[in-house]
Symmetry: C2
Subunit: 562 residues, 2 copies
């Protein structure tokens, strides 16, 4: 076996990597993991399970009440911090980190074999990890569903298959950039003694991945693979509410690393109880050279102030705006907006927060529509979308907990927050009576009350804001992004001038913009290989592009006379 396993895997997955490199540049539709996992090799025993989704659920359920078989340096005893938003405790026990020094020392100790294996072998190992994760796709989807509350369809499509594609896209970028210069060169300057030079990719140092709790694999796998492929050991510190998807991920990484003859603790799982300052203790360690974090702005700012020794890759939620100016298809627009509000109950970082509509109404194919009529149109679309309770549950997922449901209920009852334009209603989950579900709430406000827009509400609460006119709507888009940041924005207008002006404002703030969406693509969605995501956060990198991968390694040379 030994280290050449990485190279063997590289060769085996080479065609896939080449396709990914090309697709990442062309940005057309491309997916490797979109389809159900391929059947295992003929050599492997057995045929694929008849119902992979059911098998995945059984694999997930088999973890409940067990001790997860993983060892973490610096850990002692176990904790089982996860409570499912479906209303039960997972009772999966993980090693409890008690000795940060030991964890950091073990993770950060000399990693020459992994560095010296080179980009091809490291990327080969990572590509193999993707395959092994893909083989456990349905198990992972259930783990996501029962920790984050994602509906199972979204968990599988976005949380696993698209997240695997994002990871592959990351590896394509990593490999391209790491191999963008020659490994060696002869330098011949007229009149000078020629020299032979070698160029080596070296890792930046220890990488800390602070997992997020709402959309973890999609947000965090690319960071894991970008750091690992560059040669950095990675400490994975999951959110205490969402450990299992990361535990499975780390287990697969360790398994593949060990098979290739590398130290499996290149990737470690560091779990702490809620409130434990482990992430802070880790982030400020001088050994930590890279921190990835998707989550709230407060901790992002804390990292910027305190973890200056590290390269930060952060993404924070902003206030995403929809500018509505006019539309040639009012119903299609309302259907699209309803879908964007309903999907995973607005808990995606790309979900719309403020819908800006001119007080005098908008021109549509159904005549002028006032803000109230726009709201009514969205409400009607939501009624159509969520009419079937079983299907509705599969679309909106569940809320993070009781407090999110209470927050929606309070928002409905607080006139100071806004007038109720589309009321929220609770849904019952047919299989999980303990789960908290609410349909989207739309509150009406005027642009005068600008200070209320940032989300001090949890759950699916969207504001429909009356503005003086579209010009004010665009100004509000600018100001809101300036003050609070934004990840996604959307515009509806039949005027190319209006669209161009919104596009320029979106570029000012690095916001992904969707224009006149009316079909099944919602502004929340971002596909690997085609959509860029996350550039709008102050310290955020777009993923995936060169800036997301290249600061994780350095090029170093040696030279001698030829």
């Amino acid at each position: 076996m030994g280290h050449d396993r990485g190279s063997g895997w590289f060769d085996r997955h080479r065609a896939r990597l080449d396709g990914a490199v090309e697709a990442a540049a062309l940005r057309t539709h491309f997916s490797v993991f979109d389809e159900p996992a391929a059947p295992p090799d003929a050599e492997s025993a057995g045929s694929p399970p008849a119902d992979p989704m059911a098998a995945g659920r059984r694999a997930f359920e088999a973890w409940l009440g067990t001790t997860f078989p993983i060892a973490t340096p610096g850990a002692e005893g176990t904790i089982a911090p996860e409570r499912s938003p479906y209303g039960y405790d997972l009772r999966v026990a993980y090693p409890r980190v008690v000795d940060v020094d030991a964890l950091v020392a073990a993770a950060g100790r000399r990693r020459r074999p992994w560095r010296d294996a080179g980009p091809d072998a490291r990327v080969g190992v990572c590509l193999e990890i993707l395959d092994r994760l893909d083989a456990r796709a349905f198990e992972l989807a259930h783990a996501l569903q029962h920790t984050c509350g994602m509906p199972i369809g979204l968990a599988y499509a976005a949380g696993v298959t698209n997240a695997l594609d994002r990871s592959l896209e990351t590896l394509a970028w990593s490999w391209s950039v790491m191999t963008s210069v020659a490994g060696s060169a002869r330098w011949e300057r007229p009149g000078w003694t020629p020299m032979d030079k070698t160029y080596t990719v070296i890792p930046r140092g220890l990488s800390l991945l602070i997992g997020c709790d709402t959309f973890p694999t999609w947000s965090d796998w690319p960071a894991l693979f970008a750091s690992l492929a560059a040669g950095n050991p990675v400490i994975v510190h999951p959110h205490p509410r969402t450990v299992l998807p990361f535990a499975i991920t780390v287990q697969v990484c360790q398994e593949v690393l060990a098979e290739a003859g590398f130290d499996p603790t290149l990737v470690t799982l560091a779990v702490a109880e809620p409130g434990d300052p482990l992430r802070q203790s880790l982030a400020v360690r001088p050994e930590v050279a890279i921190v990835d974090y998707t989550g709230n702005a407060d901790f992002c700012q804390w990292l910027e102030r305190r973890a200056g020794q590290a390269r930060l890759f952060t993404e924070t939620p902003g206030v995403n705006c929809v500018v509505i100016d006019s539309t040639p298809d009012f119903e299609a627009m309302c259907d699209n907006l309803a879908l964007s509000l309903a999907i995973f109950s607005g808990q995606m970082i790309t979900a719309p927060h403020n819908i800006l509509v001119p007080r005098g109404g908008i021109e549509t194919d159904e005549g002028t529509k006032t803000p109230a009529e726009v709201a009514a149109g969205i409400g009607a679309a939501l009624d159509r979308l969520l009419a079937d309770e079983r299907q509705a549950v599969e679309l909106i997922g569940v809320l993070a907990g009781e407090e999110a449901g209470a927050s929606v209920d309070q928002a409905m009852a607080r006139p100071s927050l806004g007038s109720v334009l589309v009321p929220s209603r609770p849904l019952k989950h047919p299989d999980h009576p303990g789960a908290v579900l609410r349909t989207p709430l739309v509150l009406g406000r005027s642009s005068v009350d600008a200070e209320i827009y940032p989300g001090d509400t949890l759950g699916p609460v969207t504001f429909l804001i009356e503005t003086a006119d579209t010009e004010e709507s665009i100004a509000l888009l600018y100001l809101t992004a300036d003050r609070h940041g934004a990840v996604a924005a959307s515009v509806y207008s039949t005027s190319e001038d209006v669209v161009a002006e919104v596009r320029s404002v979106a570029l000012d703030h690095g916001i992904m913009l969707s224009e006149n969406l009316h079909a099944e693509v919602v502004l929340n969605a971002a596909w690997a290989f085609s959509d860029f995501h996350g550039g709008g956060s102050p310290s955020g990198a777009s993923y995936v592009d060169a800036s997301y991968v290249s600061p994780r390694f350095r090029m170093v040379q040696s030279r001698r006379h030829a």
Copy 2:
């Protein structure tokens, strides 16, 4: 005129750019600016000056005692802070920045035309700036000589021509990475409505360049061009001792930007008196998204602690070590080391600081040489090298000031610092009696006194350290780099095993390694397009590679149904 001038220049310089892109990947010898500047266009009046060096000196001297014609937002009155290390005041007056708010507001205001011009036009403008700087190469060389104390030959070769090549290399990387994805794409996912997407490079924000005083253009031009080409406005804050080379640079930038129809204040010159906390005030501004700094480690750490809102690109001096194990050509080795100690009086960030020699001596073609004999060999080589006083002056340049000369003299007189193995002697500058010059000093120490190694001395002071054996030398190389960082390292050994072990240690710390140098290439030197530089600093990027350019911009998209 208008903005298409940028595109016109892009087309005109396209072949040069293509060559640079290829050379940056192949890393063979490549230079565009190495030769004397080409004669101006036939259209231009007059023929090239007969003696460009003399003309450059006259152009430099014409600045003395004048007010530099440049306007800076937020400035009031002028200051003339530069005192030449050749012993006179330059009396060039620059705008004095008094209103940081006004400077930042002006520099950071909406920069859509520059952004919307796109990568080709921006790179075109920058390529034209390089040409205009090249046309003033000899003026710049004199400005460098008389602010930093560089010898004129080094100022021209490294401070101008190689610095221009480094800048071109930067633009090659910037352009490659900015154009590495398609500008637009059609997304066609089976079963979904097709979408048209556009991808736009947007700048990260306001860029602050804090100039260094010893090797400014070489260190700082790449940062200027990397930020500017990515669309960021740049505030150039020079060291108060070294303003003129930056003032000329900013003047040229503003001239070319204005010709192309862009706001010339995209690049501004912000000068402050010594001790003025302007750089601190600027670095912590929330508008500042990028900070480049080459200089002392204390301020680098200050930036890491306080300017977390910005992407930092820093380079700090370390303790550069030479491991001597054995050599087949003792005299050639000593000649090479003498040259590396003498060139610009050890004031380059890549100069050797510690020479590690086993106590028992090294095997050479002249038999075993003890540490004292190695020192004597270096001393003899220095005598050969510096025998001609006129030539010596042109090699070692001048020290930064009286205190640097005094520091060398004190080091010679302080036995606690080390035994004098090669004494330093003062030289007189034939034309500048006020200049302070010292030949290199080599002090002997034992590896037991490890805590003394970091440079608490100024000027050309190198330590020859006796170690137990080569194994301890390599361990010291590791420890020294671990504690103090290092930019360059060097090894002499006839054993490939020893060289390989040193190489691995150099890779551990991101240090540029030179192996068995014996000809005219010294470990201090780094050539554009072939050598990587600077990766060893904790927060440093290698320049120039993808990590040096890509975090200065983001990819942002918009999308609509096809």
